[in-house]
């Protein structure tokens, strides 16, 4: 069954048609990778899914529900969480506080409950902290819970961002270049982590340039070029598709022009 379905999605910025007619499905329980050359529109597509941009045309359905027109926080409530290509942590907050932010949409305590610390609020707070703790443990940052996010090394920041996204208890996790800037052993750990996330029942959609990561863990790969999906299939299918090679390397005829 398809968890996420994009139908005929388009987005134009001024003179630039960033996304032209994308149709894409993400099946529940899979790891789907979105690859493509720089400027292909991958991040724009993510921003469209998560509600940061609104598509000009097209529909985005998640678990059968239309997402177009929802604001980002509403999309998160529906069960889609994301990370950013350029890590965007709350740098002056601790790791735990960062992850707790993810639980915001999964808790209700209002103004008065928070001030009066009602029994329900306390129970909720305990539950929220438990979830946050668990997310930190999952990415292996439990020891750094009370460190400021800003003080973490780069690789840890990326993992913290994943933990924060997981804390929203998503059905679909969207990762924007999770392996970018990581060294080999870190990439390996990351792959393990992503597989573990899938095993816990969360569907994963990721943008990645590191082909070893993409080929190593993806169940399905979609290739985006100039705002269009040009190929889809298993990693090995896509790897050998001529149009993909062309997109990455350029058409034989064009090379002369460069």
């Amino acid at each position: 069954m398809n968890l996420l379905e994009l139908r005929g999605v388009r987005k134009r910025f001024g003179g630039l048609q960033a996304v032209r007619d994308v149709t894409l499905e993400v099946r529940r329980g899979t790891i789907t990778s979105l690859i493509g050359p720089n400027g292909a529109g991958k991040t724009t597509l993510f921003n469209l899914i998560t509600g940061i941009y609104r598509p000009d045309v097209g529909s985005i359905r998640f678990q059968g529900e239309e997402l177009v027109g929802l604001r980002p926080h509403q999309v998160v409530q529906r069960g889609i969480a994301r990370t950013f290509q350029t890590v965007r942590l709350f740098t002056n907050l601790t790791c735990l506080e960062n992850v707790l932010a993810g639980q915001h949409c999964r808790s209700q305590a209002g103004l008065w409950a928070s001030i009066l610390r009602t029994g329900r609020q306390r129970a909720e707070e305990a539950r929220v902290r438990e979830v946050a703790q668990a997310c930190l443990e999952l990415v292996g940052l439990e020891a750094a819970a009370h460190e400021l996010a800003a003080s973490l090394p780069y690789g840890d920041r990326k993992r913290l961002e994943i933990a924060r996204a997981l804390a929203t208890q998503p059905t679909l996790l969207i990762l924007d270049e999770p392996a970018g800037g990581l060294n080999e052993s870190e990439s390996h750990a990351l792959m393990e982590l992503i597989l573990q996330i899938r095993a816990s029942g969360v569907t994963v959609l990721l943008i990645e340039h590191d082909m070893r990561v993409v080929m190593g863990i993806s169940d399905e790969v979609a290739v985006l070029d100039q705002g269009r999906i040009i190929a889809r299939g298993t990693p090995s299918d896509v790897q050998n598709a001529p149009q993909v090679i062309e997109a990455y390397l350029g058409r034989p005829g064009e090379e002369a022009l460069i």
Binding site: F13, T43, N47, I52, F84, T86
Partner: protein, 301 residues
């Protein structure tokens, strides 16, 4: 119609003073993201210094009036610019890496300091520019009243604005300033001495403010230590109206604010003028959240 044109002209005169002061705000903001609340006081000090020099030296006697005023303008601009450098060094540079609001409060402290310093130096009374400083010459062109002072203010303001615009857009220094405004670190990598640029900004901005102060002193003929607070706020508003950090924006914002004020006073009620002006400002910001010429913020996600 003549009345309307007259209001427009009055508005342009006051507005061009706002515009010149607003330039100081917007330049500092562009490079440092700092609202230099002390800028209004530098404007006020310019007006006072002009007053003192005029009275003390009796400039007009020795030299032709035009030359004397030009000299006066330059001396005052230089003196206030030096003060601007000192303020930057003492109150802002130590805070360059700190939170933005820290420097804002430091600037407010400097502002209170300068205001009271001026009160102590020149006394709390209104001081009047000597009447001989600028002869009362008026023309009536097609039913339109026009005074020499208005022409002088408009001309000087225009020269200053065009000069600044050319400096920023056409010179190497201007390019360096623009580069610094975009990103300090990158500018530094390009071999630009960022500290120098910031100092230069703190030289030019106060100089412009001081020039506006002298012009306003000549126009209104009276100076008071609280004028920096009032005009500073107006000029800052003008800078925001135009889109802060944007030099043509500050000019347009200043002129527009001056005109709005005069129209508000002329057609609505003088007592409600300031409320009217701010109402327009807020409405405009609701429609254009970054001012008239402000950069549209399309945040890269």
């Amino acid at each position: 119609m003549a009345l309307f044109l007259e209001q427009l002209l009055n508005g342009l005169t006051v507005g061009s003073v706002y515009a010149v002061v607003a330039l100081g705000y917007t330049m500092v903001y562009g490079v440092l993201r700092l609202i230099n609340f002390a800028h209004g006081e530098l404007f006020m000090l310019g007006a006072y210094l002009g007053f003192t020099l005029l009275v003390a030296t009796g400039l007009g006697g020795a030299l032709p009036l035009g030359l004397a005023l030009l000299l006066l303008l330059l001396v005052v601009m230089g003196a206030v610019a030096l003060l601007g450098l000192v303020i930057e060094r003492v109150a802002y540079r130590p805070l360059r890496r700190a939170n933005r609001l820290t420097a804002v409060v430091s600037a407010l402290g400097v502002s209170i300091f300068l205001q009271n310093g001026a009160m102590l130096l020149w006394g709390p009374r209104y001081r009047a520019y000597p009447a001989w400083a600028l002869p009362e010459v008026r023309w009536t062109v097609a039913g339109l009243h026009l005074s020499l002072m208005q022409v002088v203010i408009l001309a000087v303001a225009l020269v200053l604005m065009v000069g600044l615009y050319l400096l920023i857009q056409k010179t190497m220094l201007g390019t360096a300033i623009r580069a610094t405004a975009i990103d300090h670190d990158t500018a530094r990598l390009m071999g630009i001495n960022v500290d120098r640029i910031i100092q230069f900004i703190f030289f030019i901005g106060p100089a412009l403010g001081a020039a506006a102060g002298v012009l306003l002193g000549l126009y209104y003929r009276q100076v008071h230590f609280t004028m920096g607070w009032i005009y500073g706020l107006k000029a800052f508003t003008a800078a925001i109206l135009g889109g802060i950090g944007n030099i043509p924006g500050a000019m347009i914002g200043g002129l527009l604010l001056g005109i709005l004020e005069m129209l508000g006073a002329g057609y609505l009620s003088a007592a409600w003028k300031d409320a009217f002006v701010f109402m327009i400002l807020i409405l405009l910001l609701i429609l254009r959240p970054t001012g008239l010429l402000g950069e549209r913020v399309a945040e890269k996600v």
